[in-house]
Symmetry: D2
Subunit: 322 residues, 4 copies
Amino acid sequence: MIMNSIDGAVNKIHGIIPPMFTPLSGQDDLDVDGLGRLIEHMLAGGVHGLFILGTTGQALSLSNRLRRELIDCTCRLVHGRVPVLVGITDTSLVESVSLAQHAARSGADAVVTSAPPYYPIGQPELVDYIRNLAERLPLPLLLYNMPTHTKVKFGLETIQRVMELECIAGIKDSSGDMVYFNRLLALHSQRPDWSFLMGPEELLAQALYMGADGGVNGGANLCPRLYVEMYEAALANDRARVVKLQDSILQISGKLYGVGRHPSSLMKGIGCALSGLGICSDTLALPYRRFDTPERIQLQNALAEMGITAAEPWPHVSLEVK
Amino acid sequence: MIMNSIDGAVNKIHGIIPPMFTPLSGQDDLDVDGLGRLIEHMLAGGVHGLFILGTTGQALSLSNRLRRELIDCTCRLVHGRVPVLVGITDTSLVESVSLAQHAARSGADAVVTSAPPYYPIGQPELVDYIRNLAERLPLPLLLYNMPTHTKVKFGLETIQRVMELECIAGIKDSSGDMVYFNRLLALHSQRPDWSFLMGPEELLAQALYMGADGGVNGGANLCPRLYVEMYEAALANDRARVVKLQDSILQISGKLYGVGRHPSSLMKGIGCALSGLGICSDTLALPYRRFDTPERIQLQNALAEMGITAAEPWPHVSLEVK
Amino acid sequence: MIMNSIDGAVNKIHGIIPPMFTPLSGQDDLDVDGLGRLIEHMLAGGVHGLFILGTTGQALSLSNRLRRELIDCTCRLVHGRVPVLVGITDTSLVESVSLAQHAARSGADAVVTSAPPYYPIGQPELVDYIRNLAERLPLPLLLYNMPTHTKVKFGLETIQRVMELECIAGIKDSSGDMVYFNRLLALHSQRPDWSFLMGPEELLAQALYMGADGGVNGGANLCPRLYVEMYEAALANDRARVVKLQDSILQISGKLYGVGRHPSSLMKGIGCALSGLGICSDTLALPYRRFDTPERIQLQNALAEMGITAAEPWPHVSLEVK
Amino acid sequence: MIMNSIDGAVNKIHGIIPPMFTPLSGQDDLDVDGLGRLIEHMLAGGVHGLFILGTTGQALSLSNRLRRELIDCTCRLVHGRVPVLVGITDTSLVESVSLAQHAARSGADAVVTSAPPYYPIGQPELVDYIRNLAERLPLPLLLYNMPTHTKVKFGLETIQRVMELECIAGIKDSSGDMVYFNRLLALHSQRPDWSFLMGPEELLAQALYMGADGGVNGGANLCPRLYVEMYEAALANDRARVVKLQDSILQISGKLYGVGRHPSSLMKGIGCALSGLGICSDTLALPYRRFDTPERIQLQNALAEMGITAAEPWPHVSLEVK
């Protein structure tokens, strides 16, 4: 995706682009104050963009109305300081297109879609779907590979076929399959303008080492500077620093996302930590719920143990995580 | 679910309730004439109810607007002759409730939900979700077990827990897991008013033999009387007739749904056959598409070979399937 | 498989053929006395054959030496009263053939194989494997569909292709997939001499209702007469009796196999119950172990609650299970 | 694992340790000449050890007799030039121990086991199994994580628990799950003497970058020097060289293992390529078979295209792969 950067240069999407947690005050109510604080927290940490309405943003659990409200508020609050990417994944193509049109009107920079959830599809159907969707979109499109949630992977041949579409600008891979990601990177020469972004933060360093453009990592909601520093260290091939930062990232993902037993623990962990730092509410939309008291305490202890605190107003989280 | 039947008796949902194929003339356009013919075709075949906006009805692929239009048209066309059940499955609870309210206003008799797709959830979260959904619904709720699509099964303990909710009226099981279904039936005594309905038509006979209340079988869009006769034969324990009808049902599912390789072949097969019989269009919503010419020919040949034809206007399909 | 029955008639494998639990006194030691009592217990219950060295018999966990000892002892103890089927499943074809030769020398009546475990294979490789194995065997071969353990299913086309091999005599299906089993039964006319046997006991009644020849059900180690009575009731289409017996079978599988959380609970439950009835030791071969005390007590309570006791010497277990 | 190296220093298992392809001339016949050439080919390429009877070596498909013959021949031919690791994975613990004893007598340096295949087990059973196995072994044990074949993963807690066993010397991870491998590496400090080895060659560079001790990569049968050079480049943090070598490795795995559709294509590809280079026969043990002519030609073309040839006698394969 080619974009005008602040200094007028032409640039593609790169760097750390947190998949933003959606601050809620109820099943269908946005925590607008929390949203503002969360955005400032991440921008102060140096992130290179924001991705709203992704999996971590609980997009699919939100009403169509709330999704639009979130787009409007985020674009207004970010006010062009970094690119805003908007998730438009929906089970219905018509609704995805409608959401993309709203995003364009609000000033977003790009949209992002996974495969359509619910109906099992094969690769030919996925190619067909993406082609039909892409041609109706008013903004550049990033693909989002999320097979644990959609039940289908963007196969390598599928990627090669949709690479012919000018309006597609890259892919975020959250499969956790590094063999696949390495094969994606081998396609980079076919579309040098594409962005190849890593989802799971535990793989950020190794993805960047092999040529990825950046990361869309949940933990960057909480500790944005840690991920930005990893981005810089890996690009600089500063191996000693990478190994040290990797240790911090593994601690965060192990201690904050690993509390409780259900697949929701990532979202609950990020929400609970953001709430503990005074940034926003950790209310979740059903089918998820925020942690109960025992898990809250366990998580607050983990935060304290790792030295993650919130100074006023929303400072960078200390990197002196041991 | 207790309902007033035509003769004034009190009755629960039972018998053959086809999961209605949704006739479309475009991605976001209803084939209203086809819808009328399809409804009359099924009612003429003696079905005991209709289930719209299920998986076979492509509900999740349709826009919110189109789903509402379909509810309105179907309720108007059925005009109380049989109960109308409306699928409200959505990734967002708010949207599910909103759709249920629309269904109630249109005169539908019950709503049906699967687990919310997309986000992986555990059984405690599923119980929590169903409780929260059920208490906001204006109509009785049937559960819909569809783990191939939603990634989560309604566990037996979950069923036992939500059986405490008065407004839940039964379950349609499309898991294809007959051990599970047998264990469901063993819970019948806890809620004698619940309906236990079998999804996969290949298991209809055996489900009824062990005490199920009916079937929600895709093939009943096409050959409604065949499934109604199976219902009657199995209830009457007429084993010779059951075995003969089973042969016809296996032929239909084998020859009509097994064309092509992708998981969409059931929907494509039903649509193509309905189109071949002159009942409605076989346009599908993306991510699916109707069959191309080679598969169309293969399927029309299978129809002819099985002797399935459409006399005027929409007669019962011949049961003399060999 | 055509066999001479006691009365001189020609007969295929049918009826209740328990997959025999292997009584052990150590990781590599047979409990020969327990083996004798277990065989008499099952024969007294009226079973129509015995299947040794199946999954329930822990075959794959046993040494090659112990497998041979078990074959010898069982054939000697049964002494032709019922057919003895011997599992020869192994990761190595050479070892499977060797075991089959030993079984033939010991007087066994047939051998049984699943797909070779460990290496993932496709259907063409499975056809090739079965053909190569079958032609080297000195005894009729039954196929054993066990995809949860072998990772590959005997596809319907595979079955049709190996049906051409005269020496194959039938299939035991333990997939639990009743749609598949119904499709298997539809192939019966191609090989009327084949035996179609149901593994999971919860599906025995429905399998027989649709035309299966019998069942290979773990619970028949414990309560052989219960399964024999179900066989007779289902064949006689005595629906009221079937429903009553089904209730007992569901109780046994629910209460005895459902103790503990691991996939080993079926084997642990059968072993523990047999031990509680004084029939044999419940020692298991690694990677499994018999229940610890809390689960033992829970299981003994379940046995008592269901009224399953052992009179002297090894009488029929009471069918007055409530 | 602490071993005496040639110069008397103490060393743990490290570097490139090819999982040796087993040259066969029949289902139960070893190609002894081919074995000699293959061993010399790999040693000439600079590999740091050999792992025989692994998945690539078809161990589980071989008879017990042939496995012993292979151990004897290999140990004799290697004659102490590099450590020989012997796979003892079996469905039966007794057979695994017996094989390990044979390996010790033959002069092997260590044994390797995956989880026992066939029976599904939980983590507590896996810990129990490994403990029982380890205490009966005469040689150091490496664990082998291969969940696609065994159906169970060595969980992180399981690893932490068996780390207490002195005789366990490390782990080879073939799960392809780099998040998991990164978490394994984080346990390195608990057992600095453990070896952490990467299976999938596409991940070798990134594993070494984060601290792995080496790789057990199938392609090193064919192009041993390529993998040895990658090992050296990654340890030296020579990123430009790593990226170049990664391109060659991705080509090999893409073009040689990706021919044909079945999971056997890795073994077929390696065998076919070794045969094409004149090193050994590509006969495979059932359930696998070597490629048919069309795939052979396709693969020979790929070899030629990549410039992989065999000069006399078995020189290093050219690294000038483009």
